[in-house]
């Protein structure tokens, strides 16, 4: 087997040489590490140029096969390889649209060598159209999870998978529902882009997990910044992007099948993917993918978490064609899920809640079962997307996307008189989105995108619930225009600036408690600006800086909700006069990875000011026939949120590697002069990994032990919560993975253990911390069989 290199490409970031170091720092144990021999300090550098006209071949790839090292040239064709030992090497130089060229070179001192390639313009154009990153953010800190990373997290929710990244935590509603939290913000403050389309099922409130099958994508990227210019409203805390699949463009067939078994919940899952190209039609590719999961009740260390079973199933299919001018794509996915909601979390009133807090154990614990009873929820998300892109001129590109999303959601409550099978909430949300983007060049260097997008959404309460709707019927329309330009100052500094204007109008219709029809039509107009830079003062150092604003019109729940929320035993009252939330956020991201040091550091500092920050504030109690309930009102305040993330990677030896991560967030309510409610506690994670390239027919053997320590949150507003934040906790985990060739195909095996010591704990960001402990020990074992065309069985992933 060819030595393994980092398998998602680094090719497109503006300063690839330093990007290489970034990736090393994050994924060093899956790269082939060259020996850090003290004598090996030579540098080879130069430019990759077109053999015909001497023009630079941007992002060409230079590889030393014997060392398994690959670097990528930058936009000007410049490349650099550090830390070489004296000796003779064979360089392989590749560029899109050119054949690979080999060149022998003998090094005894630092050397500069230009590499010439035969380059075919026509081919180049053809392939350029094929691949397109969704966005090019210069200054935003980002992190990514590729297919292999997802494979290791198999069986976990999307939010859990993302929580391994620094600065990302999970907002739980019991063991089955999780939403990602980026730098302390979540829900409607984190935009989800699924296959490039805004995921709209988050419009309904906090206790809804995003209905996304992580396996339907090859890569998930998290942008940690206020990125409204690129992505539109709601990108205040950050953006989670499940990137569009890369289809094969050559004839062939490949795929993979995976099985998964999980001990906690005693269930499992399966997934499969098949993709191929069509013989004789170059550029035409397709993919079919499906997955499912089936779990019974989860278990905390000391009791069963009754009624927390999960069933889910998803399918997706993609078809695409590309030639040198046109690119056409169609995508469809459907993902359905049924979730049990911890029985003990259904409580009647404030007395019950206080009883639950006082009690060590949940009030309802039954034998473990696979049955799901009330309370439960079912969700069904469908996405259909059509895309067309056309190359314009030599470098421009016009792209139009249309997508339709249908979201159905039923929530079944514990009800009297045999009504538990009638949903108490039954919603149908349909959303049309359209986008038109022009990628263009202004002169030689400045390039960017200008675009427009529109959204049309209707939310309907399906009649027949016999319960007054919590979220009224509404129609929402949004139109936005944006421009984002990149200015490469020189090959080590790139600037970016952009702006967006967006308008949203709502038409809301609902009946008041006195059955009077109430109609409201608020309009929200917003603008956002963004400026960023990406500076690489040295090969080993990269600095990203971004200042950007973002906005979020209040969602319908914040404006109009009125009534009892059973899960929290609280009455929530919206405020129709709320305005848009606005955020200004600055992020500095520094990566330092000296070639001759075993240590690599990646740090992020962020600070934001959020005006009109909407949250629920307690406002007395109200007497109802069920007893007293606390009343919470959606109010706006001004908030400041700041913090930092740090990742230190230590390559002890070629086989051993350690990482240490830390994250901290602080958030103040500037009007009330107190801490903000519900912010993640400080956390630290450490891991030690051991890697062997070859053991008895197995390759890529990896073992790792990781520990997480979460401190007690001591910064919280007094009097908002009925329960003090739970105590801090520590968790231990273990994972192992290995690969083996099998009948010419590939077999991958893995094991993952979470909460290995079976610790009892509750997390401050778990809405069910009042009722029960979090999940205990969980062992997962997975096996993947990848077959067919190797180059097809796993599409080359995109870079972050």
């Amino acid at each position: 087997m060819v030595p393994r290199t980092f398998h998602f490409s680094l090719y497109t970031l503006p300063l690839p040489r330093t990007n290489l170091m970034t990736m090393l720092s994050m994924l060093a144990w899956r790269t082939v590490l060259f020996a850090q021999d003290p004598g090996c300090t030579l540098t080879l550098q130069g430019r990759v140029v077109d053999a015909h006209d001497g023009g630079p071949l941007a992002f060409a790839e230079v590889r030393i096969a014997s060392l398994g090292r690959t670097v990528q040239a930058d936009a000007e064709g410049a490349y650099r390889i550090n830390g070489l030992c004296p000796g003779t090497y064979v360089l392989q130089v590749a560029h899109i649209g050119c054949g690979t060229v080999e060149q022998r070179i003998t090094l005894d001192k630092d050397q500069r060598r230009d590499l010439r390639l035969e380059h075919h313009e026509h081919e180049l154009r053809q392939l350029e159209v094929l691949r397109d990153r969704p966005d090019e953010d210069v200054g935003h800190a980002r992190d990514g999870l590729d297919r292999e990373g997802m494979e290791k997290e198999a069986g976990r929710t999307l939010a859990d998978m993302l929580s391994g990244m620094q600065g990302v935590t999970v907002l739980q509603t019991g063991p089955t529902i999780g939403k990602p939290v980026i730098h302390g913000l979540s829900g409607n403050r984190v935009l989800m882009l699924n296959q490039g389309v805004r995921q709209e099922d988050q419009q309904w409130g906090t206790e809804h997990a995003p209905t996304i099958d992580p396996l339907s994508s090859d890569r998930i990227t998290v942008v940690k910044g206020a990125a409204a210019v690129q992505y539109g409203s709601e990108a205040i805390g950050g953006v989670v992007v499940t990137e569009p699949v890369e289809l094969p463009r050559e004839a062939g067939l490949g795929g993979e099948v995976r099985l998964l078994g999980v001990s906690n919940g005693l269930g499992g899952g399966a997934s499969g993917m098949l993709q191929g190209g069509v013989n004789g039609v170059r550029g035409l590719g397709w993919r079919l993918q499906g997955s499912g999961r089936y779990l019974g009740d989860s278990e905390a260390p000391e009791y069963v978490l009754s009624n927390t079973g999960v069933r889910e199933a998803g399918v997706s299919t993609a078809l695409g064609y590309a030639d040198h001018r046109w690119e056409l794509g169609a995508y469809y996915s459907r993902f359905a899920r049924e979730l049990g909601i911890l029985r003990a979390s259904h409580i009647g009133n404030l007395t019950d809640l206080n009883n639950a807090i006082a009690s060590e154990e949940p009030w309802y614990v039954a034998d473990r079962t696979y049955a799901i009873g009330a309370p439960r929820q079912t969700v069904d998300h469908q996405l259909a997307k059509a895309e067309v892109a056309h190359a314009i001129g030599e470098r421009g590109r016009l792209q139009a996307t249309y997508a339709y999303q249908a979201d159905a959601r039923q929530e079944y409550d514990v009800r009297r008189g045999g009504r538990s099978d009638t949903p108490a909430i039954d919603l149908f949300l349909s959303t049309h989105t359209g986008e038109l983007v022009l990628k263009h060049w202004l002169g030689e260097k400045v390039h960017g995108r200008v675009g427009a997008n529109v959204l049309h959404q209707v939310n309907e309460n399906v009649p027949g619930t016999g319960a007054r709707p919590l979220i009224p019927n509404y129609r929402k329309r949004t139109a936005g225009l944006f421009v984002l330009e990149h200015v490469p100052v020189h090959d080590r500094l790139e600037l970016e600036a952009g702006a967006r204007v967006e308008a949203t109008d709502l038409y809301v219709a609902m009946y008041t408690v006195d059955d009077v029809l109430l109609v409201d039509e608020p309009v929200f107009r917003n603008g956002a600006v963004s400026a960023g830079l990406n500076w690489s003062p040295r090969d080993s150092t990269r600095l990203r800086f971004n200042v950007s604003s973002a906005f979020r019109p209040p969602n319908v729940a914040e404006l109009y909700s009125s009534g009892l929320h059973h899960g929290s035993a609280a009455i929530e009252e919206g405020d129709p006069d709320l305005g848009s939330e606005r955020a200004l956020k600055a992020v500095i991201d520094l990566e330092h990875a000296p070639a001759n040091s075993a240590f690599q550091v990646h740090g992020t500092l962020h600070a934001s000011r959020n005006d009109g920050f909407i949250y629920l504030r307690p406002d007395g109690t109200r007497l109802t026939v069920r007893g007293a309930f606390p009343v919470y009102r959606y109010v706006a305040t001004d908030a400041a949120i700041w913090g930092g993330d740090l990742l230190v990677t230590w390559r002890m030896t070629e086989r051993w590697m350690g990482t240490l991560k830390g994250s901290t967030v602080r958030a103040r309510d500037l009007v009330q002069d107190e801490w903000l409610f519900g912010m993640p506690a400080d956390r630290m994670e450490g891991s030690v990994a051991y890697r062997l390239d070859r053991v008895k027919g197995w390759s890529g053997v990896e073992l790792s032990v990781h520990g997480t320590a979460v401190l007690t949150q001591r910064r919280y507003p007094v009097g908002v919560d009925l329960m003090d934040p739970p105590a801090g906790y520590g968790l231990l985990g273990f994972s192992a993975a290995a690969t083996r060739a099998f009948n010419g195909n590939e077999l991958r095996l893995g094991l993952r253990a979470t909460n290995l010591l079976n610790a009892s704990y509750r997390d401050y960001l778990d809405a069910f911390r009042y009722y029960a402990d979090a999940r205990g020990i969980d062992l997962a074992i997975w096996i993947t069989y990848a077959f067919g065309d190797r180059s097809l069985s796993r599409a080359p992933a995109r870079n972050p």
């Binding site: 941007a58 007395t351 470098r395 009297r416 060049w441 309460n461 016999g466 038409y507 009534g563 026939v625």
Partner: protein, 212 residues
């Protein structure tokens, strides 16, 4: 495992070209088309958004009425909790007659939805699901001697009817709670002690209590 060869195809960006003007024009036209497309359809889709009729709350409880009657049916006393518009809106109205001291009463509870016509009597629904329901009565000042007067299929109390003996005169409060899925076999529960009952609360109403 992917090899380097797998990833040879890659993104590109050479910076040598500019965009012809006609495409700028085309872009602008397209944007305008999009804007027009969204701007024009103003009212046509508002109708389906407007709900046809207000939702009929099927599980609304507006009224809890306790009836105290003496054994010879000479004296009827009522405690009522009425909140016709449910949660929110107007505050509930709570009234309670004065009970006579040194008397024996039969106490029964009625649970009603009086928000519409006809009035819905939910009491029978609770008795039908008696195994999953139990009323609890908490008398703050020990003025009442209460005992369950009914039983579910498992011969455990429901509490829709009670016997109630008054002694000395005095005042305090009477809290009536209906629990759903209580553990009726937990210690004290079948004797009316709510402490270990668990379950979730369907009703919780506090009446002023005067015995004279």
């Amino acid at each position: 495992m992917p090899t380097k060869e797998d990833t040879n195809i890659k993104h590109h960006k050479t910076m040598r070209y500019t965009m012809p003007r006609k495409y700028t024009t085309m872009m602008l036209l397209s944007v305008m088309t999009l804007a027009t497309f969204t701007g024009c359809k103003k009212d046509e889709d508002e109708a389906p958004v407007t709900p046809a009729a207000p939702t009929n709350e099927t599980e609304l409880i507006t009224t809890v009425r306790l009836t105290f009657n003496t054994l010879n049916n000479t004296e009827y006393k009522y405690f009522t909790f009425i909140d016709l518009d449910g949660d929110g809106g107007n505050a509930p109205m709570i009234t309670a007659d004065t009970l006579s001291s040194d008397s024996i009463y039969l106490l029964s509870v009625e649970v009603l939805d009086e928000s519409g016509t006809p009035v819905v009597d939910i009491t029978q629904e609770i008795i039908d699901e008696g195994v999953d329901h139990q009323f609890f009565y908490e008398d703050s000042s020990g003025l009442l001697q209460l005992a369950y007067g009914d039983a579910d299929a498992n011969n455990l109390p429901i509490g829709q009817t009670m016997s109630c003996i008054t002694g000395l005169a005095g005042s305090g409060t009477l809290k009536v709670t209906l629990r759903h899925q209580p553990d009726k076999t937990a210690p004290g529960v079948s004797n009316g002690d709510i402490t270990n009952a668990g379950g979730d609360t369907d009703l919780e109403v506090v009446f002023p209590l005067v015995v004279d």
